[in-house]
């Protein structure tokens, strides 16, 4: 009784594009191909039979018979398409649900990976910045810290050596940034020289 149920309206208009888009990777197009082959089979066999065994049936009768066969095997015929439609639709729904689930899982996976990578990058950048900032702070503390004692009294040779290193483009470090401006240049040489001739530093070293 179920086979005689009328086909749902618009079935083919939904089925064909859906199958073309979604079901090709899963072999469902083969099912459609078979169905279409079955529908055209009667006509083909009739034509072949006409070629092989010519009969006395008139053209009018042949046309009528062909129309009748076509009508019997048309897609809108509820006797043929009832269960098939439902089975194909169920398969399509199942496959679409699988595809959606996979897409959702893939999207979640990439989102999670991107988030993790961004978090790792942020942590790395923050760590590097903190370390650099800490180094600069240490240099600044060293420079602007307690007054130098007698042992730390610099002389003009310290300035001379730093000037020679700058002249030779030799490697300098953060400890050479004596004026604390974040770079090592002639101003640091001048700062060292002024420190060498500073009477306040000597007095501080003497405790006066």
């Amino acid at each position: 009784m179920e086979d005689e149920a009328p086909a749902e309206p618009g079935f083919w208009s939904r089925l064909i594009p859906a199958c073309g888009i979604l079901c090709e990777p899963f072999g469902l197009f083969d099912c459609l191909t078979l169905q279409m082959a079955a529908l055209g089979g009667a006509e083909k066999s009739m034509n072949e039979r006409d070629k092989d065994e010519p009969t006395a049936v008139s053209l009018t009768e042949e046309s009528a018979l062909r129309r009748a066969l076509h009508g019997a095997s048309a897609p809108s015929d509820p006797r043929i398409l009832g269960t098939t439609h439902r089975a194909v639709l169920a398969m399509i729904d199942a496959k679409v649900a699988q595809i959606r689930a996979r897409r959702r899982a893939r999207t979640l996976w990439w989102t999670a990976c991107s988030g993790a990578a961004a978090a790792v990058l942020l942590v790395a950048v923050g760590t590097v910045r903190l370390r650099r900032g800490g180094a600069q702070d240490r240099v600044a503390v060293q420079i602007t810290g307690a007054p130098r004692g007698p042992a730390e009294q610099v002389d003009i040779l310290a300035a001379y050596r730093l000037a020679c290193r700058l002249r030779d483009a030799a490697r300098v470090t953060g400890a050479d940034d004596h004026n604390g401006d974040g770079r090592v240049d002639r101003a640091d040489v001048d700062a060292l020289a002024r420190q060498a001739v500073s009477l306040a530093a000597v007095h501080a070293g003497r405790g006066s």
Partner: protein, 157 residues
């Protein structure tokens, strides 16, 4: 208005010209004014055959009678600019002067005048001034010993 400005400018120029003229009329460089003797003193260093790349000298004087009123460089090209010094040393009885050159070819050898101090000596007596070498180096930074002398200007050359 323009005439007024020109008048003010002329007065300023006149005032500026009168001051050195009054000092220059008192003698040959030594300018006693109200019992004060202005005396230029040269700082000489002798490094012998070794080129002098850097020096630091400590000068002491009697702060009660001597004030340093100026400090300039020497005759050697490498030390023609004024040396490094602390301005607090102009009146405190003690000053440190230092200079260096990174031009190895320009480092002078032998006896050279590296600085000149302008002193104001009260009472017109000869100042008690001493110099002590703190450090000196040849090109490359190796410490060397140099002879230090202080002489009134015009006597060391």
């Amino acid at each position: 208005m323009r005439l007024l400005w020109l008048l003010v400018l002329a007065m300023l120029l006149a005032a500026g010209c009168v001051t050195p003229a009054s000092g220059a009329g008192n003698g040959s460089g030594n300018a006693p004014a109200a019992g004060v003797l202005f005396l230029p003193v040269d700082l000489w260093l002798d490094s012998g055959a070794v080129p002098l790349a850097a020096y630091q000298v400590e000068l002491t004087y009697d702060a009660n009678s001597v004030k340093i009123v100026g400090l300039e460089g020497g005759t050697a090209t490498a030390y023609s600019d004024a040396p490094y010094y602390d301005r607090a040393g102009f009146e405190g009885g003690r000053i440190i002067v230092a200079a260096f050159t990174t031009e190895e070819e320009g480092a002078p050898r032998g006896k050279v005048r590296v600085a000149r101090l302008h002193l104001a000596v009260a009472g017109g007596v000869a100042p008690d001034l001493t110099a002590k070498l703190m450090s000196a180096a040849r090109p490359g930074g190796t410490r060397i010993e140099v002879d230090v002398q202080l002489k009134p200007s015009g006597q060391g050359e």
